[in-house]
Amino acid sequence: MLLGIDVGGTHTDAVAVDESGILASCKVRTNHDNLLDSIEAALKGILAQVDRSQVAQLNLSTTLSTNAIVQNRIDDVGVIISSGPGIDPENFIPCKDFHSLSGSIDHRGTEIAPLDPAELSRAVKACRAAGLKSFAAVTKFSTRNPAHERQIKAALGQGAGGGADFVTLGNEITGRLNFPRRLATAYFNSAVWRTYNRFADAVAQCMTDLGLDVRVNILKADGGTMTLARSRSMPVQSIFSGPAASVMGIIALTRIHYDSVILDIGGTTTDIAIFAEGAPLVEHEGIEIGSHLTLVRALKVRSIGIGGDSAISLTQGVVRVGPNRLGPSAADGGDRPTLTDALNVAGASLYGDIARSRRVLTQFARPHGLDPEDLAAQAIKAAAAKIQAETRDFLAEINEKPVYTIHELLENRRIVPRKVYIMGGPAEAMKMPVFREFQLSTEVPPDFAVANAVGAALTRPTSDVELFADTEKGVVLIPKLKYEGKVGKGYDLEAATAEAKERLLTALYSQGVSMDAANVLVKEASSFNMVSGNRLAGKNIRVRCQVKPGVAFTLREA
């Protein structure tokens, strides 16, 4: 039995599933001041319904890192970089404690100039004087030669006596090239590290208290999971995992053939995801966090401020829904009418205190000379129209650029959706209004209200590695696994591809994950002859492997 918990902006959903279906589900309000409370409550709600000895795993999707950044509950980070020749790194300063050192490594990983030890020690001193304990060390082409990043880490020292509590090394995030993104990703990782680890400690404690000795995985935005242990050093990967949980949920619940739009209408937001040829689209390089581009892989999702709890407003005769949430719906005891209240008044839903929905909406409508039914109808139409307009805009943006799904690059492919799937609390109630705006076949999958938690429960681990080998230098590197080896002249693409796959699977295995080798996709494999003078000097080999996102099993009806 697998447990899944999705901590959302408004609700925290939990389910227990096995191959026979959903065994239990539970929905509690999210307490933003203490996410662990919500998790614990949801977990207890589930454990009251099932035999806890049957639980094999808990997957958790949490907004903790996202909220920490949005609410600025993050550590000051000492960022020490070295960029060598190229674009001025002043363009990429993420925070005030930023130190740029001379020294450079080139595209083949050759050290062109060493780090300046005097500059390095000045930077370390300045960071210590500022009382910093979290750091990021990022150098250009560190994925080809991590020596300078390691040197910075060593200079920072560890623990007490002014040393670092934590240092993110750029090359350990991913082997992909992109210095500015690597820099931003390392910064955010260190910024949320402390908050995240406190949370991880609390989750571990909570599991012990509940007597649950099972593997805990954390959801990532790319539609996969990582182990709790791994997440402690890479917390940035847990960011924006909520939409991924929903998308994986729909994959588990429904078979999607056509280009489709997936709408997850939650309490605060609606997440729009797009499927092409049955697979969700991904961000090509990585998501943007607070105006910084990063290397955090993610499914392609647009979040807009329309949800069940979105406030209804009326200015100059125009009815709007969202983007703000001004407290709970009247149906939940609030004082401002929301989309949920409008759906209650329109008779589309029967949620919570329906009489209160009507009373509050009537009070709001009267000064404007409107019937509550009129206002409700207009609000529902406005919400559906906004969702449709945003979807159209999102598709236009996607169709302008090459399209990448979780499996592959789709060449010259325009996405033209033929179907809309809706999930989340108000899904059933919003089905017809959405259909009227989109004019496309609109489906609400079974168990739509907990699809996100189902997705969380069933999401498989993902991981990727980049291998880089240079047979002239006789080295092979897999930065993310901190692996460096020696290779002979005979090392070739075939050997490199086999090695990348094997080391990826072994690394997962050592984290307690046994992964079917068939799930490992080789995304890139190339070998170039390097010539020096008129002589073949060696091969320059690059291999990129990825465990494709997927679900442990599906709950589709046969």
């Binding site: 020749p85 190229g86 674009i87 001025d88 363009n91 990429f92 450079s104 080139d106 595209h107 083949r108 062109i112 100039a113 250009k140 082409f141 992909r176 090239l177 992109n178 210095f179 500015p180 993104r181 390089e285 581009l293 090459p402 190339s526 170039f528 002859n529 390097m530 010539v531 008129n534 002589r535 073949l536 320059n540």
Partner: protein, 438 residues
């Protein structure tokens, strides 16, 4: 991070095409450039975007070249994508999608002449010319300037536009007495109807940034200001670099970026450049940033040493003299015929052309009809060690009815009387490209 100008980059490294495994023109050539551009996050700059190349069609090539025996025999798909990359670059700018475009493509093309029997100087089809002719076919007659900053004389582009007064071709290169292809002297300045529309600036070995920029400011800028082109194309070869293995110049990444900034071409197209590790990643980055209007002051090669590259005063003096003399070629071109003679209504010149890459010898007689009304029908009789005597006829852009008629009559006659194995007719007025003898 924003760019001042919207830049489109078309990157096509042709990772499956090489002349031979250890040839300078091999798969590895743009590998490190790609690494550098990715590591810099070039495409994340707001205003800079990567685009896929178009694929040049056979018709795009036939509009530009006489290929013998046919297009497919002298070019591969990589060549068509490389030329298509250049077309895409021009299309981005002309459609207004981008302000500037950089076709970072290979294989190169500037040694490919009007007639193609094979590969010379690593080039099969002239990618800038295929682009320029595509532009004129789709956007009408335009004034176009091609500034070739490759270290080797752009003899192919010169040959194609020799008789075309609407295309100004300027080549600056290492002096032909010291480097392949051994041509590109100032007195090579265009045919009788386009004299002064070909400008050659042979620079002495070990010319540094100083010399290149002096030529740009004192020769190229005033000529461009007078010519007023609708489109400026830069054949951006990078083998003037101080570390290039097959040339002998002292140009740097900073120099290339400065030159690009001042020339400010609409479209830059990569040509040669074979210091693939030590120069190309930095030169290409510098050119891309300069085109986009982004600060490039920190782009420099690992072994850059301005003192070592300082220009010898003797070289400076020599270039100063060139700068005094060369503008006259454009503003007051010589009237005497340098390389041919008038025979009746025709201007006739004979050429022997060697295709070094494919080891082919060609003998060619080029005849231009001195029409007086239009640019005039072009007739090229050619035979080579690869092909028997063949004929190319071009009714040029804007040709008069008489020249058009003459072109068709000559094509008919050539078929009736025989003697030519292949006959190709380019009719730019009727937009048709005919081949006979197949």
């Amino acid at each position: 991070m924003h760019s001042a100008r919207k830049l489109g980059v078309i990157f096509f490294p042709a990772y499956d095409w090489a002349i031979s495994p250890t040839h300078p023109e091999r798969e590895e050539r743009l590998l490190y450039t790609q690494d550098q551009l990715q590591e810099e996050g070039l495409y994340d700059i707001e205003g800079v975007r990567e685009y896929k190349p178009d694929v040049a069609t056979r018709e795009d090539v036939e509009r530009t070249h006489f290929c013998f025996p046919d297009v497919d025999s002298v070019s591969t798909r990589s060549h068509h994508i490389s030329a298509g990359g250049a077309i895409r670059a021009a299309r981005l700018v002309l459609e207004g999608e981008r302000d500037r475009a950089f076709a970072l493509v290979r294989p190169p093309g500037h040694h490919a002449m009007k007639v193609v029997h094979g590969s010379r100087g690593f080039c099969n089809i002239n990618i800038e010319a295929v682009m320029v002719e595509w532009v004129r076919e789709n956007y009408g007659r335009k004034r176009i300037a091609i500034v070739d900053t490759d270290c080797h004389h752009g003899d192919g582009t010169q040959d194609i536009y020799w008789n075309d007064p609407d295309v100004l071709f300027i080549s600056l290169h290492q002096d032909g007495r010291t480097l392949y292809p051994g041509t590109g002297f100032p007195l090579e300045c265009g045919g009788p109807t386009a004299r002064g529309r070909t400008i050659n600036i042979p620079l002495p070995p070990r010319t540094s940034d100083e010399g290149f920029l002096m030529v740009l400011d004192q020769v190229i800028a005033p000529i461009l200001a007078d010519f007023k082109p609708d489109l400026i194309v830069n054949s951006a070869g990078q083998d003037n670099h101080y570390s290039d293995p097959i040339t002998d110049m002292n140009f740097s990444a900073q120099g290339y970026a400065l030159l690009t900034e001042r020339l400010n071409p609409h479209v830059a197209v990569l040509e040669g450049g074979y210091a693939i590790q030590g120069a190309l990643p930095y030169v290409n980055l510098g050119i891309a940033l300069a085109l986009a209007g982004v600060d490039y002051s920190r782009v420099r090669e690992p072994d850059f040493d301005p003192a070592r590259l300082a220009q010898d005063p003797k070289v400076t003096d020599y270039i100063k003299k060139l700068c005094d003399q060369i503008p006259r070629i454009y503003f007051d071109p010589p009237t005497e015929n340098q390389d041919g003679e008038v025979r009746g209504e025709w201007f006739v010149r004979s050429k022997d052309i060697y295709y070094d890459t494919d080891n082919i010898n060609e003998e060619q007689t080029e005849m231009l009809h001195l029409c007086g009304q239009c640019r005039g029908l072009l007739r090229v009789e050619t035979k080579s060690t690869a092909n028997p005597l063949s004929l190319g006829l071009e009714i040029p852009v804007g040709a008069c009815a008489r020249c058009q008629d003459l072109g068709f009559r000559q094509a008919d006659e050539a078929q009736l009387k025989g003697g030519f194995r292949y006959v190709q007719l380019i009719d730019r007025v009727g937009k048709q490209y005919l081949r006979f003898g197949f």
